[in-house]
Symmetry: C2
Subunit: 393 residues, 2 copies
């Protein structure tokens, strides 16, 4: 049996999305900016896809949805756009507030900009892996130009207080960016209700293709382009349009948002079943109360087991899970979320993330429970660390 439980890293393409993209790899290959038939015949499909995205996010017609190549591009576009528009010319407004558990595309971009005069405050998560709205507010100064806070965390699934922080930012005249990559299709993301100036999303996290994403920009909040060049996307993001993937993303988002209920009933039930079984294993800690998390995610710390060994045992049995960061698992560094919530650095290495999708089945979860439990037993039986820990206790 093969079981894919790494859906916060990437997801399989919804089969109907795949079918929808095919004509654009065949006869519908025109450049939509061309004035001839080949160009014109693809435009209605682009319009339909963009319409789906506006509807899915409840974006206003006068706002922009700019198609990008991935969430990393969207996050770089916002932060570097803020740098060029506000900070480079006015060091009196050089402060950005964010969290210590943002995606690397936020953290690393801010680290880079710190070398060019940007002052960043990283707000830590609490012991549950959550972010306190009050802590975010307290970090703001007279120099703050932007708050960047993800909608839901990739590691823990913890949902962050976007409503409260967004309203606060609006009141204070501070720009607000949220990386909603892990939220769309899992919790309602309604931009007519939540005050957000910039919102990042990525198709491959909701069963669309890899290599396409988007950036919502509220009316009047335009930033300098990350990609200068042609007039595509109303002059806001140059580059020939990836028609196939835009069409795919439009349908994938519609499908994902249409399945939010299923995620919060069926998928949540499966996740909870898995979580209950894992929590019964001695010396395990699940991070964050389940009702405060996205319905598909589970991050567990396993005392006395190396993440790598656990991954290996699961992998041998056909189960894909993750340790370390969602998108760059090769690095195998101490899990930043686990460190932030105050776990022992040694324990941090044992953080295992299991993330489900709407395609996950009951049989897959039952199989995973069996394999996971046996793997923990086996690895502890050969672990000097775990034996040592037990003797001390």
């Amino acid at each position: 049996m093969r079981v894919y439980l790494d859906n916060n890293a990437t997801t399989k393409i919804d089969p109907i999305v795949k079918v929808k993209m095919q004509p654009f790899f065949e006869e519908l290959y025109g450049n939509p900016n061309s004035l001839h038939k080949y160009g014109m015949e693809v435009r209605p499909h682009l319009n339909e896809a963009l319409g789906s995205m506006y509807d899915s996010l409840h974006a206003a017609d006068e706002d922009d949805i700019i198609i990008t190549s991935c969430a990393t591009e969207s996050n770089n576009a916002v932060l570097k756009g803020i740098f060029f528009k506000y900070i480079l010319s006015n060091p009196e407004k050089n402060h950005i507030v964010t969290t210590s558990v943002e995606h690397p595309s936020v953290i690393d971009t801010l680290m880079f900009l710190s070398g060019h005069g940007v002052d960043v405050t990283y707000v830590d998560v609490d012991h549950e892996g959550g972010i306190s709205a009050n802590a975010m507010k307290a970090a703001v100064t007279d120099k703050t130009v932007l708050i960047s806070m993800m909608w839901a965390n990739n590691e823990t699934g913890m949902i962050f207080p976007v409503d409260e922080v967004g309203a606060f930012a609006k009141e204070k005249g501070i720009l607000f960016h949220s990386d909603a990559v892990q939220a769309i299709g899992k919790v309602p993301v309604n931009l007519s209700k939540t005050d957000v100036d910039y919102l990042t999303f990525s198709a491959h996290k909701f069963h669309g293709p890899k290599g396409i994403g988007g950036l919502y920009v509220k009316k009047g909040k335009a930033l300098p382009n990350l990609f200068h060049g042609g007039e595509q996307m109303g002059g806001k993001r140059a580059g020939t349009l990836n028609v196939a993937y835009i069409v795919g993303m439009g349908l994938a988002m519609k499908q994902a948002v249409g399945h939010v209920e299923k995620m919060n009933s069926d998928v949540r039930r499966l996740r909870d079943k898995l979580e209950d079984a894992i929590a019964k294993i001695p010396d395990t800690i699940v991070v964050g109360p389940r009702e405060k998390r996205t319905p598909n995610t589970l991050l567990v710390s396993l005392r006395g087991i190396e993440g790598e060994s656990m991954l290996w045992d699961l992998n041998k049995a056909g189960i894909a899970a993750s340790t370390g960061s969602a998108c760059a698992s090769e690095s195998l560094e101490a899990n930043p979320v686990m460190s932030a919530i105050g776990e022992d650095p040694e324990l941090a290495h044992t953080a295992m993330r299991l993330s489900l999708s709407r395609f996950t089945t009951e049989a897959e979860i039952e199989y995973t429970i069996e394999v996971f439990t046996k793997a923990v037993e086996r690895l502890r039986s050969i672990s000097s660390t775990y034996a040592y820990t037990n003797e001390v206790a």
Copy 2:
């Protein structure tokens, strides 16, 4: 009959490239950075694709080929990377030399950077639409940090003196960037022979998918990332890899480079046949000597005819051609190349570009000659401008 003669704007996907990409929209959906089977099983395919690109470009193993989402991204990455690495901290090295007929992703990026302290010299084309190596050299000053010159022009197909300018830049210790989007698959691009520090390419110009491109970076010439974030591409371009398109681009480039001979025999013969026929129509000017151009391209000025009307007539007959810029034809501005070579601004609007591919057939060219000739006759018969011009002459 439908005839696609707008291959400098975009191309159809080679059918074998399409087939090659399919598994990555289906079972091979893993994130290559994941440590489990789903991740590991896609890596050999990525390695094969990158290997094809290194071979096709004759890049050295120690150089980088960084996958991007398009040529626009590659060009922005080079120019903004140069800005951050050299210019922002040292205004004594703030000069960039380029040509007045670069792609908008170069021109507009430089215009943007000009607002932040970058000094740019734009070298004009000569009456043939060519660039003189001596003019490029003469534009260099003590402050020059970069020369950016395309390998072949998108409008005219004119091939620019990359060998001479590259060797000169190397000798002077100036960095050299070439946008080779219109060269790959049309003329030999051999990086073991031509001195280039940065080279831009894009899959959809050589029968690969839209939304994927690349940037070659010579060893030791790394620039700050345009995308900061995860460790993908050796930490040089963050963002989850678009596996399907990378695999597609690898094969498409191999195919394109493998067909350079065919381009310079069969396709060149068809282009010349079309050119000869069009040149016979009175009051037409073909820009640039054909032996100095890429073998697939033809830019012609038609006195007394509006580009839009001509496009419309061709389009009604199923023929796709282009006026204005290759990638943003919606704008319909006076063609920059035609203006640069000194044509009357009114005539500039009549510039028509016909660009063939290795899939263009003899029958298509014969049909185009017939339709094109009749369209010119029809439009001139109803053109007040043309009648007026004739009377004056």
